[in-house]
Amino acid sequence: MTRHDLTLAFQLFFRSARLQKKRATLTIASLAWGTVTILLLLAFGEGLKRQIATNEQAMGTNLAILWPGETSIPYKGLPEGRGIRPRLDDVEFVRERMPDLDAVWGEVTSWRTALAYGRKTVNARIIGTIPIYGSRRNQFPKPGGRFLDPQDEAEKRRVVFLGTELAKDIFAQEDPVGKTILINNSPFTVIGVMIPKRQSSTYGGPDAQHGVIPASTFKALFGKDRLNVLVLRVKKPEDMDDALVRLNQVLSPRLGFDPQDPRVFGVWNTVEGQKMGAKIMLGLQIFFGVIGALTLIIGGVGVANIMYAVVKERTREIGVKMALGARRNWITGPFILEGLVYTLLGGLFGALIAIVLVVLIGLLPTEGNEALEFLGKPTLSWSIGLVTVAILGTAGLLAGYFPARRAASIDPATTLRYE
């Protein structure tokens, strides 16, 4: 291609684009619409995926929750059917014997406990546990507050960390931190309120609706130290199976049960669920990928159709130009340029529209709207946008280039006869 070729291609392209405003607009619009559709579709897919992942992980990851049960196998002369009830101090024992665990804690629960502030009284679940519970269960304090710390535990302080909804029930618009509430008629200082989170799985109830106090305080106040649940957290998901076996071995002599006994603890191994979740994610991704690809094909066919029709319609014009001395490149050049420019503009407009829409959707208040909350925020992916524009553009380019090249390859005498 010489410079003359290029200049001519540009001149001819601009002349024809100026004449064919309607067609140019249509082509650009269909490219833009294809881009918007795919970008939005996949943006919603990505948002949904992230939202599900966040919801799944809101309770914490790599956890096993163990509910104490009773023996089903006789052990060292002890009969079956004995209840096994680990206590708060057994937790420390497990930690010492199993140093590879990321964390282990026990939870003692008081259901429907009266919480009073001023004239207001609500009933809620109170959990006694140790400080590591907060970070491992993704219960983080809003700015201005804090979670339980080791000092609270050591000094049996009367402090409470409130779930988001529970705090709202008691205090409405007031700032709870530093206020004193009565739990079972004992004064407790509120030290923190949980950052809101969406949680799709729970044991006992949503984190947003409970209050957390130090385990030592709980024992002193309620006179109860038998665990409702014992929770393990491993560092890597693949460690979980071994950790559960080891736990039985560690506790067996201390509490008196057969380590093979399957009924001593009811176990919820969240690692299993995580595997399932990963499969669902993969499924979602494939689903959106397939729909995206199909949409892309429809868009590509549409663009190709327009370009093809354009060349057909202009076969006679090609013949005239060739009769007047146009070289082959001067015929195909403008069509290629047309494909490139329209693709660029269409992709650009499409991306702009998609961005605006996503930003607008992002501005919608999701709080209190279950559907929107579940859908999550659509999230744009640049690579997908580029691929979309590239594929649509290539389709248009090829659909324009090949018929144009063919028309330019025939003797103009034949092309001129074309009606």
Binding site: L12, G325, R327
Partner: protein, 232 residues
Amino acid sequence: MGSNGHVISMSAIRKVYDTGKVKVEALKGIDLAVSSGQFVAVVGPSGSGKSTLMNLIGCLDTPTDGTYRLAGEDVAGFSRDQLADIRNRRVGFVFQNFNLLPQISSFENVEMPLLFGGVSPRKRRERVEELLAKVGLADRMEHKPTELSGGQMQRVAIARALAMDPDILLADEPTGNLDTSSGSDVMSLFGELWAQGRTLIVITHDMSLAKRAGRIVEVRDGRIIRDTAAEA
């Protein structure tokens, strides 16, 4: 100029159209030599091969057999782009159905060959204005072909054919779609062009146009059956 001073020299030219089912031999061996500055009228019934001959002369099509020398050079050796350049610089075409591009103005139609010829924008404008003035359409420059009469369209087409100042002007039934008065305008325009020293080859049914020519070639059934100098 090439051998014998002939601008066009054809020998044993055959053209076969292969439509897939049947082969049609449109030209069955044409020998034709045209000297520079001649005005040749090609006559003959429709289907005789006149237009095919014209397309071959103008390099719009290539012969199946035979030798065609244009200004002494054998066209068979030319690449597609070289043929395009010949159409651009050497030959001007006037078609029966004008073949103007309908969406652009007279000005832009006439400008088209200049664009392909790489003429600068300022010179293009001068040349187009000059040509349209010459064919009497200086006031129709911004009109689109659809806004012109048949005679005006054909004059635009002639201006376009002359744009690159070619040696040879080819016209296929230039008056075929025109009424008598527009036709005679076009005819006198051809007379002037001949007088200026151009080589003209015109296909026509119109005997009054043929009579203006210095030479009449009659084609029938793919062969030249008569080649006479017209009585002056």
